[in-house]
Amino acid sequence: MTGLSKLDLAVIFTYLAGITAFGLYVSRRVKDTEGYFMGNRRFGKALMIAQALTTGTRADYAIGVAGASYEIGMAGIWYQWMYIFSTPFFWLLSPIFRRLRYTTTADFFEERFSRSLGFAYSLFALYLFTLWQGTIIKGAALTIAGITGLSETWIIWGVTALFVLFGVAGGLIATVNTDFIQGIFIVILSFLLIPFGLEAVGGFAGLHAKLQPEMFSLVALKELTPFKVLMLVITGLVGIVAQPHHMAVAGSGKSEMNCRVGWCYGNFIKRLCTIGWALAGLIAAAMFTQGSIAKRELVFGAMIKQLLPSGLVGLMIAAILATVIASCAAFMISGSALFTRNIYKKYLKPAADDAHYLLTGRIVSAALTVGSLLMALYLKSVIDATVHFVTIVAFVGIPMWVAIVWMRANSKGAWASLIASTAVFWWFGVANNIKDGRELLYPMLAGFVTMIAVSWMTRPESADRLQRFYALLHTPVGEEANLERVGLKATLD
């Protein structure tokens, strides 16, 4: 019925049972919201690397890059390597996130600018989490359905139920503690197909014999032109600070060094895996003639089905499920943290005890997931969803970058920037349907210019607000006595 052997099924069920039991076991250690949302900020270097790798590495990335490389060659790698030039900046940014001591990125907007911007960011981030989880589930379901022949809808429901159980029960501690295992599965996912694929096409020499030379170029003449890649690189760098889960990914380490090493090198491992996904796409191009597969994002599943022996098919499905569970559980928790702390606690029920907020967080986690499940059912393409995400998150990144660097930046400038960049994007990217990179360049220019001009012309934020923000940035965790000397507290009220 499933197209899977008993051995495949045994591998999958053993994995799922093990990972769920472990999530439930470690959930006994989760007593409060700080533990649920930020893992009590006690993760070491290895766990931080694993967390960064697994929350940033998803099956839909592999599926998207392999599909693009199948069609346009090695240059398809840039759909994920757009972040390769941003990665060194993770080294510089992670101590900033840690020193700010915020739980969510909405805290950043509220503390640096205004409550209204914090609220707006919370709503924006909830949309992003929903979109992202939907994309992840969609990508995994497409592949697993392609392998097994099972209904895509049923797979979407099954995968969703699994990570809800896992994430709601254990929170970030459970997610991060299993990331070691998930990390291994992700590397397996990236490289398992390659030796079998190379054997099928006659090795690297056979690959070159079957494909045109331009398929091996890192520069594509269509779809991902050098200008478009450059714009994706810049957009990726601008938006990286505003990705809603990064406050937890970059700031939950035991020390600044753990945060730096974890975020930076976890992502470098991901960049390495990306080479494997692109190579898999090239192998697919040699195996399947263009047009023989209905959608390019199905090639990954088609390769698994055709190349892997019994047992390894199960391992690959388990690997895909691992990335879905790790990423979705982390996003679900970050999303519920945003809602619970920045909307529910502030505007709906300010005086409840921590147990109430913990329960709220868990309920919201489940509710958010229902939204992403609906998103998964309606999304058209994994790559389109990824580019859409990268584009809109950059608009929010502009005020963050300027606010960190420039004391003069204020909330009026931030609002103006958000409105200007969104409006310019709508004009070029939506109304005129431009897709050559200008739809990324013009909104960013509009956002930066407006942010600086409006901030310059209007009153700066109050001394209290600025002092608190920049004092935190100049006070490493552990030196809170320095804050008290200038009359500040380290924690948010």
Partner: protein, 76 residues
């Protein structure tokens, strides 16, 4: 404690005290946070961790790009 110097823009930034961190003086200062003041403030000693880690990370970028380029050429 060091005082934040008054600015000369149309609407001046309010004056306030900033904490002084020994760790920051010993290499843990942050390049991005101090970006606009780097021409006056920069010293290797103060930004040691940022500078070393950032340069090493760029080495990894070069290595990965070279690896991607090389993988695409194996067997050609």
């Amino acid at each position: 404690m060091r005082d934040q110097e008054p600015q000369t823009e149309v609407q001046p930034i309010p004056n306030f005290q900033m904490p002084l961190s020994q760790l920051e003086e010993d290499g843990h200062s942050l390049l991005i946070v101090d970006l606009l003041r780097l021409p006056q403030w920069f010293s290797y000693k103060r930004y040691r961790l940022d500078v070393i880690g950032f340069l090493v990370a760029w080495l990894w970028v070069v290595l990965l790009l070279a690896l991607g380029w090389w993988v695409a050429r194996i067997g050609s």
